[in-house]
Structure formats: C-alpha cells, structure tokens
Chain length 240, copies 2
C-alpha cells in the first residue's frame, strides 16, 4: 500500500530540484534496480507488484498494485519494479586512465547512452559541465541500463577542472585531426560538446588536440550524433 | 489556409498503413525539407508558416498559421516547415560495396541513427527485414536529419536476400570474433539484430562470420545499443 506522502515524494523526484533537496533519485525495471542493489548505491525504498517480488529487506520493500505503480512511474508502460536510492557523493576523479568530459550535453538519451558506453569501454570517470543534463534524470537512467552503478560521474566547472589536470586534452571537433591518423596515448581527457553547438569557446581554449571522425566519400550528413561520436572515439581509445 | 481533407491526409501519414495507401510520407524542419527538395525525392506539398517561407513552386507551397501547423505536425514543438513527399521506389541493391542489413530493429530512433551513420560512412545500401520499423515513420525521419535522401533503403525477406548474394556475411553477435582482430574485406554484408533478441536463428544460419565489439576491462553493461554498435562496426569497415 502506498500512502499519499510516498506518491508525492517519488513523483517529485522527476525534477532535479527535488532530487537534490531530498538527496534521492529513482530507477525503474527489475534488472536496473537489482544492479543498483548489488552496487555501492544505498537503497531508500523499493516498490514492486506481486508478480515482481524482490529479495530485499522487508524494511525497504513495499508491495503495491499495478494501479499504484502507474501513479509513481515515469514510464508509459511501467515494468513492475521501482527503486528509490540515495544520490551518492561523487568520488574523487582518478587521473590514471582516460576520462570522458561533456560540455553541455542536453539530451537525456544521449547522456544515458554515453554513460553506458563509458561502462562498456571501462571508462570509470565521467566529468560533466554544469550545463549537462542531470545524470539522475529518469530518462537518463532509463538509457543507462544500470551502467550508472559503475561510472563515477562528477559535475564541475569544466574550464577549472581542465586547468588543474596535467593530462593531454582532446576535443571532438568537425575540423580536428583525423582519429584514423592520431596516435592516442594511454591516458588523457576526451571532451564532447553540446548537440547543436559543439564545444564552447571557453572550453576549446583548454583543448590541446582537436580530433575528428572523418566522413567517408562524398556529401553526407553534417555531423554525427554525440553519442555515436563517443562510441567511435572510445573504441579508438581502447583499440590500442 | 488548410482544408480539412489536407489535415486528415497529413495526419493519416503518421501511420504506415496510410503512408503505403497514399504512397506519401512527410518530414519536418526547414533543413530536412530542403535536403529532400535537393534530392531525387519528389515533393507532393510543402506547408510553412510566414516566418519560414520557402523558395519552391507556388503549386505545391501553402502558407499556414502556427495553429494550423500544430494540427498537422507530429512534434510537440513544430518547427515551421512540413513537407509531404512521394515514397520513392527502392533502387536495386548495389553489391559493389558494403551493405548494412537490419534484422527486426524496432526502435525508430535507432533506425534513424543507423540511416544517418550509413550516410556518414558512405554506405549507400541499407537492407531491412520486414519486421524492421518503417523508414518513413516520422520518428525515424526526425532522427535521420535528412540522410534518408542519400541512402537506398530496401525492405526484403532477409533470409532470401542473403541467399542470392555471394558476398561474405558478417553478423554482430556477443560471442563473435573481436572486431579488433578481424581483417575486413573491401565489401560484404554486415547484419545487426533486434534490440532485445539480436539476430534471429533463421538469419544467423546465413552468417559466415560472427563479429563482436569486446568490452574493456571487468564487469560492464550486458550489451551495446544497436546504433552505437553500428557506429563502431562502420568505423572499422571504413578504417581500412
């Protein structure tokens, strides 16, 4: 059974303002909830329908009806389980491996896909400018497929962050050097920019090497989507 | 001014059944409409608001109000121009270069991104199983960013298509050979499968080489999204 205050709380977590106020966020789907339960994330409360019962402590588990789930879910077709978790403190950024940095990536699906790609390619640190969409946005989390549990995400003033690091800074630009020809080092920072405007002038000043994924053949689309560009660049970085 | 029959026609084109019945589809946005006007696609009618007037023949141009555009648009925030075009006949598939084949890719955003990737990487032929989402679906077209004008898309019974070709057939599988280690030829067919189930058993029987994008390091997400996997595989194919 859900009480009104629970419904109100969970619904409010669709907005960043309330997520930060309560220090909580939620994810949906049995698999993603289980991945977070198996990780360092701390669960606040888990809600599931009778068909999706979960092996967690009774203190935090609430069985609810399908109609109740509809009331708290952010999905058109809720899928049985919703878990509320505490927003963790970001760990210190580790400078011993490649770091992905995002400058104002706005689309939740793109950020979610990029987090999933970081996970796949073993990138443990993702640094986001403050204009980047919040990683605890339900649409971002839906696209991460649980990868959020394995990537340390930090929101920073990107220009300042780049100043303190002594790593080589790569930035994705249309007019950069071809990624086919660059020799990529064992570690570095790779920046991807906003969907419409790319990397901002302010951040560009800190880039030591511009890199591009050249199109093949004649006239093509103007650009690649930021998530597909990330896929290709991370693949190159790990290609060795 | 829009008349009722026009509103009814354009709205009906959101559904595949009516697109096929009328032999028409629509796209939105000044840039995409312009790209299609500049291509081999034949325009049926163009609708635009006063702020977005278009240099096309008066016979097909209708100036409409913002409120009228809202009535025919498939977007929450319509962006000034909507163009109705004739569905072209697919050209014969050209077997002299790489071909991308899709086995039941269902998500419109994924198909749109894959079309855009084909365009970027100079893949001129995209072959889709009949279970693949329709490429003239408005959500697909929104994600292609006009690339639809430069990729020849054919819907076929994939198993039969693969039988008549004498090209080597690559398929993306979790347990395939690492793409880092394969020598890729100058031409071939690369198949990507359904978001949840991958390549079907029936199609798998025609695959001559399974290929995988290996994850890096330890525990990661279970799989890559089909569009990001396509990005990496096309990049490898064109890497040379």
């Amino acid at each position: 059974m859900l009480v009104k205050s629970q419904i109100k709380l969970i619904r409010s977590l669709q907005q960043k303002k309330y997520r930060n106020q309560h220090g909580l966020f939620f994810v949906e789907g049995k698999k993603t909830v289980q991945e977070l339960l198996d990780s360092d994330f701390k669960a606040h409360s888990i809600y599931c329908t009778a068909a999706n019962l979960f092996a967690v402590s009774d203190d935090i588990l609430t069985e609810i009806s399908k109609a109740e789930l509809d009331q708290i879910s952010s999905l058109k077709n809720p899928n049985g389980v919703l878990g509320v978790f505490y927003i963790p403190k970001a760990k210190e950024v580790d400078f011993t491996d490649w770091i992905v940095a995002l400058d104002a990536v706005r689309d939740p699906g793109n950020l979610g896909t990029i987090i999933r790609l970081c996970d796949w390619f073993g990138i443990r640190n993702l640094v986001c400018s403050q204009m980047t969409v919040d990683c605890f946005n339900p649409k971002v989390l839906q696209a991460t497929m649980g990868s959020i549990a394995r990537v340390n995400i930090t929101y920073v003033k990107l220009v300042d962050f780049l100043k303190v690091s002594d790593m080589k800074v790569y930035g994705a630009f249309m007019n950069g050097a071809s990624v086919y020809e660059l020799e990529l080092p064992q570690k570095g920072i790779i920046i991807l920019g906003n969907e419409a405007n790319g990397i901002s002038t302010e951040v560009e000043a800190s880039v030591t090497q511009k890199v591009a994924i050249p199109p093949y053949g004649g006239k093509t689309s103007e650009s690649l989507n930021v998530a597909t560009a990330t896929a290709i660049l991370l693949h190159e970085i790990r290609r060795g």
